[in-house]
């Protein structure tokens, strides 16, 4: 018989940044003062109506929120089951959910009196969103990006430069998101007195996972209200893809204490379940320490981080945010993984049937949601977080399909 699990609480993290046993702060002493300052300023900002008004105003008039909740009727018909709704984060300014977080953190940067911003990026969406927020507030911005990601997400690299950011190519390790985070942390080690690090997901040392979750929670809050408006009740299932886990955390968090709503996180299943072929720490990994936090991670028996693979740069990461580990441990969220080929197929299906090019990251969630919808009756509702748009991926998808010569 399954052991009864502790009920997941919304009242996390605690003072030490713990979500149950997960989270915490495992970073060099050099960064502690800045993390304390950030936690402190964030706590004040949370209760400061001026800060909240300024952020809400930006989200409305600059980002274009609320983003629509769209009934994908042709996709629904194709799957032949539950009604599929898409939360259209792809329609935000800059084309993904990442802007919700970067505007919030840019306001915190100003509040702390810091004059320079650094960021890491995988798919380039967080890099573009950070460069955008920095341009909007006149802050100089440096974005670290793995060499491999610079290649496969080239359109976003041009955008960042046009927005005035400096993009620094990272050639260490696997040349992907994990290495970009390492380089950004090293920059921060030396620049912490005048620089804020706008981390792009619910990962890293406390208070980052909490701050990013809170700024992204607008996704789930709007979805809750829109479900009540448009269908008169809450959905049966909510699905989101999980890289570091920020769009999923933002989508899930407002639903956590609505026990009847099933929550499904979708990791990158890559080519197969063999080590090194996927990026699914919650599915195949175990708890350990990476990038300042205790959470599920892909590590070898010595604690060395393993190489991972995903077709999508934004999910190609060996770790995951600590709150997801907590939700896994409590059983509140189910985590699955979706392989590269299935994500690509969903990418094409959505494009052809709904006229929407989704980000390859989001296509992982679409694929799983299509399967779930197909298994359910037509009177149920499945909401998917469409975390970003796929323009950045068109060329790479064409290359993978072998039609890039046209």
């Amino acid at each position: 018989m399954a052991r009864p699990k502790l009920r997941a609480s919304c009242h996390v993290p605690d003072h030490a940044g713990r979500y149950g046993e997960f989270g915490g702060r495992y970073v060099p002493e050099t960064l502690i003062a800045a993390l304390d300052q950030l936690a402190d300023q964030y706590e004040q900002a949370r209760h400061d109506p001026d800060f909240q008004d300024r952020l809400s105003d930006l989200l409305k008039h600059y980002v274009g929120r609320p983003s629509p909740l769209y009934h994908a009727s042709r996709l629904t018909k194709l799957c032949g089951g539950a009604q599929i709704y898409l939360k259209r984060e792809d329609l935000n300014h800059t084309g993904a959910h990442k802007i919700n977080n970067t505007l919030g953190q840019a306001l915190l940067t100003l509040r702390m009196g810091k004059t320079r911003v650094i960021a890491e990026t995988g798919a380039g969406q967080h890099g573009v969103a950070t460069a955008t927020a920095c341009a909007r507030f006149g802050l100089p911005c440096v974005v670290y990006m793995g060499e491999e990601d610079i290649r496969r997400q080239a359109p976003n690299v041009f955008s960042m430069k046009l927005l005035g950011a400096e993009v620094r190519s990272v050639t260490s390790g696997s040349r992907t998101l994990r290495d970009a985070i390492n380089e950004a942390m090293r920059d921060w080690m030396a620049s912490v007195e005048n620089t804020h690090y706008i981390l792009g997901s619910v990962v890293g040392p406390h208070p980052f996972p909490r701050i990013v979750r809170d700024f992204q929670s607008v996704i789930g809050q709007e979805t809750l209200a829109q479900c009540n408006d448009q269908i008169g009740r809450l959905p049966e299932v909510v699905v989101a893809c999980v890289g570091g886990g920020s769009n999923a955390a933002g989508m899930f968090y407002p639903f956590i204490e609505h026990d009847a709503v099933e929550l499904v996180g979708v990791e990158a299943g890559g080519r197969s379940s063999a080590a090194g072929e996927h990026a699914s720490p919650l599915t195949y990994g175990s708890p350990g320490v990476l990038h300042g936090s205790y959470s599920y991670v892909m590590q070898d028996q010595d604690g060395q981080t393993c190489d991972v693979h995903s077709i999508s740069a934004g999910l190609d990461y060996p770790g995951v945010g600590p709150e997801h580990s907590y939700w896994k441990a409590t059983g509140r969220v189910n985590y699955e993984s979706c392989i590269d080929d299935d994500a690509l197929e969903a990418f094409e299906t959505l494009a052809k049937n709904e006229g929407i090019l989704a980000a390859v990251e989001s296509s992982h969630a679409i694929s799983t949601a299509m399967r779930i919808a197909g298994e359910r009756p037509a009177d149920q509702v499945v909401v998917v977080c469409l975390s970003g748009r796929g323009d950045k991926d068109s060329a790479e998808v064409a290359r993978l399909r072998g039609d890039d010569d046209s």
Binding site: Y26, P28, R178, M185, M189, A190, E193, V289, G292, G303
Partner: protein
């Protein structure tokens, strides 16, 4: 009392400052590390810091990062490193401490790591990514096994916090000279003197300074205010020359280099 405590007591009696080289285990292989340890400690180094290679070292600059990458590329494992230390430490006249990421200790298991370190003749641990708030469980285990858990204080550590770190540290306090990552630097910051001077009045623990130290002038500036000095990247960089030079040449180069630093430190 750990072997680190004994060392500093002894040095204090002699009015001598500790010279502490840092090297990376397994760079480029463990046989070389063993030879290097013996060479360094034979030529008067008082204690040696052995870095356990880690895939994601965020406190390290390019030189030490590259040494970790070289070692890991050769498939080195933690148990190989401990086996090398177990065989080498009995021949050494001075203590060895490991510089190791918490990611590695956690994966090994805190108790298991400390136990194996002890069995391998290791006298203490420096865990650069374990802040004082998270250090209690490891501190208790180290105390039970009589190993030092050396903690770090940086120029931007607030003073009330520095007191807490000093109270929970054992062996010595590692004072990081700069706000930044490891790597050689031209100059040592001015703030050190005030900060270390203040710290000295708050604690009886020895204070060793590290990060950025690479020449006799640095040593002459810093040694008067410290109980020991740590030199890492400047040594590790010389080992990287194994690409082009023979082992004997590299060992000679490191020996000559360390000698110039030792002369400077013994004059202080």
């Amino acid at each position: 009392m750990s072997a680190v405590d004994q060392l500093f007591q002894e040095l204090k009696k002699q009015g001598q400052k500790a010279f502490m080289p840092f090297i990376t285990a397994g760079d480029p292989n463990l046989a070389f590390t063993s030879t290097l340890l013996k060479t360094l400690l034979r030529h008067g180094s008082h204690i040696c810091e052995v870095g356990i290679p880690y895939s994601d070292p965020i406190a390290d600059g390019p030189v030490i990062q590259a040494s970790y990458t070289r070692a890991l590329a050769h498939g080195i494992t933690l148990s190989d490193i401990f086996e090398m230390l177990r065989q080498t430490t009995p021949e050494l006249a001075a203590p060895v401490v490991t510089m190791v990421s918490h990611a590695i200790i956690y994966r090994a298991g805190l108790k298991q790591y400390v136990k194996t370190a002890k069995q391998s003749g290791v006298a203490g641990l420096i865990v650069p990514d374990l802040p004082v708030e998270e250090s209690k469980p490891l501190q208790q285990i180290c105390q039970a096994e009589n190993l030092s858990l050396i903690q770090l204080i940086t120029p931007n550590t607030p003073r009330d916090r520095a007191l807490r770190i000093a109270a929970s540290s054992t062996g010595f306090i590692y004072y990081v000279s700069v706000v930044g990552i490891t790597g050689e630097r031209k100059q040592v910051p001015q703030s050190i003197k005030d900060n270390v001077g203040w710290l000295r009045e708050q604690t009886d623990l020895p204070i060793c300074i590290g990060f950025g130290i690479s020449n006799p002038e640095h040593i002459r500036t810093l040694a008067p205010m410290a109980d020991g000095l740590i030199v890492g990247s400047a040594i590790v960089r010389r080992i990287a020359a194994l690409d082009e030079q023979s082992e004997a040449e590299v060992l000679q180069d490191v020996e000559d280099y360390v000698k110039t630093l030792m002369v400077a430190i013994s004059g202080c």
